[in-house]
Amino acid sequence: MTKNKANEKIVANSTAEYFAKNLQQVGFSSPIKAVLTTVKEAMDNALDACEEHGILPNIRVDIKKLGLGSLKNTDRISIKVLDNGPGIEEKYVPMVFGQYLASSKFGQGRPSRGQQGIGISAATTWALQTSAIGAKVTTKRENERKALRCVVVTDLKKNEGILKDKEKINWENPHGTEVEFIIDGKIQMNGEGGLLTYLRGTILLNPHMTLTYHLTEMEPVTVERVIDEVPEIPKATPPHPHTMKLGEFLSYARLFSSHKNAEWLCKGFSRVSPNIAATLFKNSGLPKTLLDKKVNTLTSDQLKKLFQTIQDSEFQAPSTKSVMSLGEKALSLSVMRLGKVDYFSVVTRKPAICDFKPVQVEVAIARLFEKKSDGEDSSVQILRFANRVPLQFDKASCAIVKSISSVNWKSYSIKQTKGNLPSGPYIIAVSVVSPFLKFKNASKETIDATDELVTEIRKALMKAGQSLSRHIKKEAKTQELENKIKHIEKFGPVLVNTLCRILGASEAKKKKAEEGIEKILGRDNLKTRQQLDEVEERLNVHLASRKDQFDSFIKEDEELQARQEALLRAEEEILGTRYNDDETSSKKEFSRKKKSSKKNKSRL
């Protein structure tokens, strides 16, 4: 190292500066991606805000071309997203839109759309870099008379948002936020980076959302919500005992060093009750008396023994509440909004542990009417979702695509060349929800394809495929019957006519032969018709059972909630009133569940 170089100062750059120089890492790597990522980040924020405040989201997206962009081969584009969310307090506006890593959800162990607080600030930076205009924000809270209108820019050196051109205005909306970005980009409607593809996915996974979109010259489109219920926001739950490696476990223990061991195990982990904690100590060969001692009294060896016992023990699967799902009914209703759906199947898997993390997989497969004729040979359309956010790029290495390719779709009567994606006029939508999803990159476009996750997704796909194949088999049988009838109509008369011509047979004999051939070949059709009836009956039984299942979901939900309520009460009794904060939140949770259960009843 030269002397000069040795004297150079090592400077710590701000987070904002880093992201401003590396916007490609967060989804702004091309003009097409820039438009899509901006829309996506704004919509994610809007949906998260509405859901957290129990508001049924009404979202409007307006995208307009304003002229040529400053960058080569780009357009100057205005992207406006309006929601009916709770609005943002003025002091938080610069943080939300202008500051990196300012988030209310970071590390909470909840599968919310946004996590780190990077995306929307990156959109502001992109707007500043390409059009020199920050994010134009209008926001109003319920109790406010006037709305705040301002422009947010980012001070990259300090990683701070700055409000400019602030004014109070009259706004027709009772509450909500509107954000407009003017950026350089390129609009693509369909395909991998298509806006319509993104919107279609968002519509599917948000059955409670009403969305109006007005994209450039297209007529505005409104897609109404199909359920009147805000999804339950997953409670931030502690990690499942099987989700930790030894190092993590030891560090975790240090965080709870001043708590008693029993408290640490019961409150620090999900699915551990006082009884289970006692059993774990017993199986680890640790004296029972240690349960009431503080965590920092445990030696490193004792912690290792405890860790090993945890690994060898079986626990209840992670809570469904930590990995929210739409449920099969909501998904079924939402699928119908994808277009003219011929038939579909939906599957919601029970939560499972994949790579030490709770994961829940949902699958919807829909066959579309409009693409029936021309879509037979093209690959199916795939909609991928991670924590309800559509994923649109780098699909090849994604766990979802790998899972779809690995299923033998031929056995469900869907065309497929070995090891490739199936083909036909289908949409296959796969949603993976987990508080700790592993992505391959910072722009969160590809879910890491671990063996366990691929297997879990495969199981859901196979179940959905089985269900769908009943429809396809019925369709194939109907087609077979139609073909047979056509075949007989075509060839029967030709055969009789030629025979009669060769033999010079009379008209009477010809008529009799025509009746005979109709009778003979009609018998063949009868067999196919019977097969069709059988297939149809099987399908009807399946559909009826699905209906019963939907009806029983609500009942099961109520029973589950009652059981959980009882369990929590028991825990509270044992652990006393040491966790007042949690108690309050639990109560809130119960009241929300009760409310939702009532809504379910009225819906039925």
Partner: protein, 385 residues
Amino acid sequence: MVKYGIKDQKSIEKIAMGLCDTILTDLTQGKRPRLQATKSSLDNAIYSPTLGYLTPGPKKTITELNVASVKKMSRAIFVLDILLKNIKTGAVNTKRELYYICKGLLKQNPELKPLDFEDQPESDGIIDFLCEIIECYREELNCYANDRGGQTYSKCLIVTETLPNGKKAKIDLSKLGTSPFTPKNRPQNLALTASKKIEFCLVVESEGTANTLVSNGMTERYDCIVVGAQGVPSNSVRAWVKRIQEQVDVPIYFFGDLDAYTLQNIFRTLKAGSAASIIRNADFSAPEVRFLGVLPEDVKKYDLFSYDVKSNDPSEMRSLKKAQDALENDPFFKSQRNRPLAKILEWLIENKKRCEQQAFFSVDANDPLALEKILIKKIREGSYI
């Protein structure tokens, strides 16, 4: 019940009309018509040492009218109609011509459009199907093949052909110069006589080698018949050699390569017929033909150039595999009567060698008559199987 053997065209017409009548009657009675044909495959072949050729066993294939077969049956009756007209008028056609005739008729009549053929193999399949049901040769339905091979040279053979108009044409092969006589279409219509006692008939696998022997004066020096088979013998070559066997009292020898393909596909077909033409072998096989060579002992005796069967050549390996299969399943090679021929197959499998008929030219490279001399020697010494 249809009898095997050559039928006159009246009986073909009668069988065809009877077939149509049965189908129509079945239809008027609401019964499914069933068309029965002899199963033409090796598992339904029986070799009788007395007869000397492969004959059909009891297995039948049945085509019953149903939704799946109605198209095939309709097409068959449609093509049969054309063939019956040809028989009545005496018109003949090749399969290709019949394909276009069908296309023309189907174009004229929109009602028949569903029967249309996409390509020739479709109409060929229907013609073969008809031959199987009626149990006749396509030539008997006036559907002729442009058969190759059978170029015949002799200074002592006279062929008399009965023409369709009843006139007789006499061909004296000694008057043809260096041009061969080639039997076509239906050698069964040819009558053979010998102008003098003929010593032997030599069927050579390679048409080129047959021509060399004749050009070098073999037919001048010996009272013989030389026939070029040109590979796997066509129907006309098979029927022609059968004709020679029947009408000229002469021993017949086959001279070809020493390999599994020649023995199994060429010589066996010539001598005992094939499984595919199982119902026609009586007229298309010459059981008295002997295998003159190349014999395994010739390779040693004359120190002939031979080749190892290439393990990387799929066709050569397949041929050996088929030879093994023939030893296990072919009734011709399984027969005790043909044990010496089976032994050649065993030798080929064991030694994995092949030797071409032209290898004899290496024995005395300076003598253009070397092959002729060796063949005559072999015939006279009885060095054949």
